[in-house]
């Protein structure tokens, strides 16, 4: 009985000491933390390039969730493989686990940036967005321009990534036909769940 009492007193001491130990990691709390938002923007940790996102999807990065914040109609038309559709007005109702990496994208990037701020205000700190949205995805992943002075290894990497998502790299400068094919992919083709 004496031992049990000692255990109880120890538990009480540890519990009552908790408020004074400070919080190492507060759980998700609502409200805008303007300092941390400004810091994330300054450091560039608020966004990820379309090409990096493509690598994460290809490598099946653990805990990755790609969120398309456009309308269901736009999402149905074309979406980044593995993406799920959570329109921006539904974002506050969505739930994100702390161990997930959330990547937001929209058509051009503006809405994704706003969605990022919404998630930060909801306490979701593990989110990033693609600054150029689907336009970047087409330019950097589906139809990337291969630099004329790139090494063979660099070119192979870009080509492999593009081919993985069903794209066609462009060589050198502007090529009207390829731009047209990029637009066509954006509108018509859907290669989901690669």
């Amino acid at each position: 009985m004496k031992f049990v009492r000692q255990l109880g007193i120890s538990a009480l001491a540890l519990g009552l000491g908790a408020p004074f130990a400070g919080s190492l990691q507060r759980t998700q709390q609502r409200g805008l933390d303007l300092d941390s938002i400004a810091r994330a923007i300054n450091e560039g940790s608020d966004h990820v390039s379309a090409r990096q996102l493509a690598r994460w999807i290809r490598d099946r990065r653990s805990g990755l969730r790609v969120i398309d914040v456009r309308s269901p109609a736009e999402f149905h038309d074309y979406a980044i493989p593995t993406a799920e559709n959570v329109p921006i007005d539904q974002l506050a109702k969505a739930h994100f686990a702390p161990d997930q990496t959330i990547v937001l994208y929209s058509q051009e990037g503006a809405h994704a940036g706003q969605a990022w701020v919404i998630l930060r205000s909801l306490g979701v700190t593990q989110a990033v967005f693609v600054p150029g949205g689907l336009a970047d995805w087409r330019e950097e992943v589906l139809n990337p321009r291969l630099p004329a002075n790139a090494s063979p290894a660099e070119r192979a990497q870009i080509e492999d990534l593009s081919h993985y998502f069903g794209g066609t790299p462009r060589i050198g400068g502007e090529q009207g036909g390829d731009v047209a094919s990029a637009a066509q992919i954006g509108r018509g083709s859907r290669r989901r769940g690669c």
């Binding site: 049990v4 109880g8 538990a11 009480l12 540890l14 519990g15 009552l16 908790a18 408020p19 004074f20 130990a21 400070g22 919080s23 190492l24 990691q25 507060r26 759980t27 998700q28 709390q29 109702k93 739930h95 994100f96 686990a97 702390p98 161990d99």
Partner: protein, 179 residues
Amino acid sequence: MNDLLIAGGIGVAFGWALECAGLGHPPKLAGQFYLRDFTVLKVMLSAMLTAMLGVFWGGRLGLLDRGALYVPETYLLPQLVGGLVFGLGFVLSGLCPGTSCVALASGRIEGAATMLGLFAGVLLVGLAFPAIEAFYRSTPHGPLTLQRLTGLPYGVVVALVTVLAVSMLAWIAKWEARR
């Protein structure tokens, strides 16, 4: 593989602790519902207290990465109904999933019957899932925690839960001494 071995070791230790506490014996567990035996409450309260203080201080002292812990999402209504079904099965069989494994390991036929019912239930829910999926995903509240619900700092929530749990354990000890 290492994680599986560690999990297996923790599982065996947990089962051993349950058996030591007498929780492989169905009448003892059912006694909780009739307020005759408070062993279940004592085991659960002390386990929750130990885990909570371990996670808090482990995180605070850098021994544990709290970000690696997964908080299951709350779906209020379906989980409330699930809790009632679970409670009904608990009081009927005198065992819960963990203690049914312990009872089976101790050679009790009730343990085998409860585990059979458990797997039958899992199978039925799996088969019926397309029909009940809408209800299953209704009233979502995300990873809901006491600190998110109350807005209180984590440490204060830990202190309040500790005071509550220790008070209840002390009250149960006094009540048992009086009997």
